[in-house]
Amino acid sequence: MTFSYLDPEIYKKYRDAVIELSNSIQVDINEHLPPGQRRRGLSDREIAERLQLDEATVTEIRAIAERDYYDLAEWDRAIEFKRKACREYVENRIGLKRKKP
């Protein structure tokens, strides 16, 4: 592995296709089916064969796209989501009340 990097134009061209074919966004994977009968995301090698790319390029596109998918604002929303969800759970389950300001 080196710090040579992917051509941004290649990335832009194939990003959506790679994300869709991989396990990144999982839709209707029938989890209750026995192993071996589930629909799974394709491996990088399988995606490469389908898109006629080499496997290393697909791996790089997928790794970058998974990070690129949401912008930084989603990271900020994550903090608020967790604080709110945690606080609500404790309030509902344990009866902890917020202190009045």
């Binding site: 999982q26 491996s43 990271w75 989501f81 967790k82």
Partner: protein, 288 residues
């Protein structure tokens, strides 16, 4: 002098289970090394250890009951417990090699190339009967709920446990909630159609049509970790104004992210909200 009596694999497995439990494992199971067809090629037991015959899976080290009910989310976010199960995995790998005499490969908890795990611990835990898949994603043990897992691939052909016959998800309480509200606790907390990660339904008493937004889940689970660091650094590098860059790099979000990274393996999982509301294992994590 007569040759020593052959030791059966059943006996070796019994020794292994006793040692693992004594060392702190809550659950122990064995999967067939050839049963990992759902994993991508290159990420199956035989790809990591030639002549792999079985995969020993240990589960345990869950957050404590007190952690689950703390209203300070940053506490659990900071104090992960997965490192404890990794220590146990290494210990059991030594036991298999030194005491049982077979090759044993402790599966590292980090990621291989392309951000893929060396071996899916979820798949291993499922195939070893240490729990079953859930609508929210994690493998759930019927008694303990969410556990951390470690796996050891070995050339010993230990008797296989195989997947659980019954799924812990959906719990009876979730089936009831689906009837009355048309949703379940994990999906209600983190709904994919309203800015969250999870979707799905209950059909014929089982979860169905699950949807999972892994990219969004990453923003929550790795909020202040390498993915968050990359996003913050990208913003800083793209900012021409020196003073603005200082605000980013010295600011609380970037600083907390750097602290988290220094905690390494003990600080990776940073979102527990779908599991916090999960009824599976609730009795185990309910105290006075």
């Amino acid at each position: 002098m007569s040759a020593p009596a052959a030791v059966s694999f059943e006996s070796l497995k019994d020794q292994l289970i006793e040692y693992s439990r004594r060392s702190g494992a809550l659950v122990v199971g064995v999967a067939d090394a050839d049963a990992f067809g759902d994993a991508p090629e290159g990420f199956r037991p035989g790809d990591l250890l030639p002549q792999a015959r079985s995969v020993v899976v240990l589960g345990g080290a869950p957050p404590r009951a007190g952690d689950w009910i703390s209203p300070v989310v940053e506490l659990q976010e900071t104090m992960g417990t997965s490192d404890r199960i990794n220590t146990l995995g290494r210990k059991v790998a030594h036991f298999i090699e030194d005491r049982l005499g077979y090759y044993a490969l402790f599966v590292p908890p980090g990621v291989n190339r392309g951000e893929r795990p060396f071996l899916s611990l979820m798949l291993a835990a499922e195939l070893a009967g240490c729990g079953s898949r859930s609508l929210a994603g994690p493998i759930l043990h019927p008694t303990y709920g969410m556990l951390y897992f470690t796996a050891i691939i070995t050339t010993a052909a230990l008797p296989v446990d195989g997947p659980c016959a019954e799924s812990a998800c959906p719990a009876p309480a979730c089936r009831d909630m689906w009837q009355s509200e048309g949703t379940v606790p994990c999906v209600k907390t983190c709904p994919i159609d309203d800015g969250g990660c999870l979707g799905g339904e209950i059909a014929d008493g089982r979860f169905a049509a699950p949807r999972y937004d892994r990219a969004r889940c990453t923003t929550r689970v790795y909020n202040h970790w390498i993915p968050g660091f990359q996003k913050g650094l990208e913003l800083a590098l793209a900012t021409d104004d020196k003073e603005k860059r200082k605000m980013i790099l010295y600011g609380s979000a970037f600083t907390r992210t750097l602290w988290s990274i220094t905690y390494s393996a003990s600080n990776q999982a940073q979102c527990f909200e779908c599991m916090r509301v999960c009824p599976v294992g609730l009795e185990y994590r309910t105290k006075k």
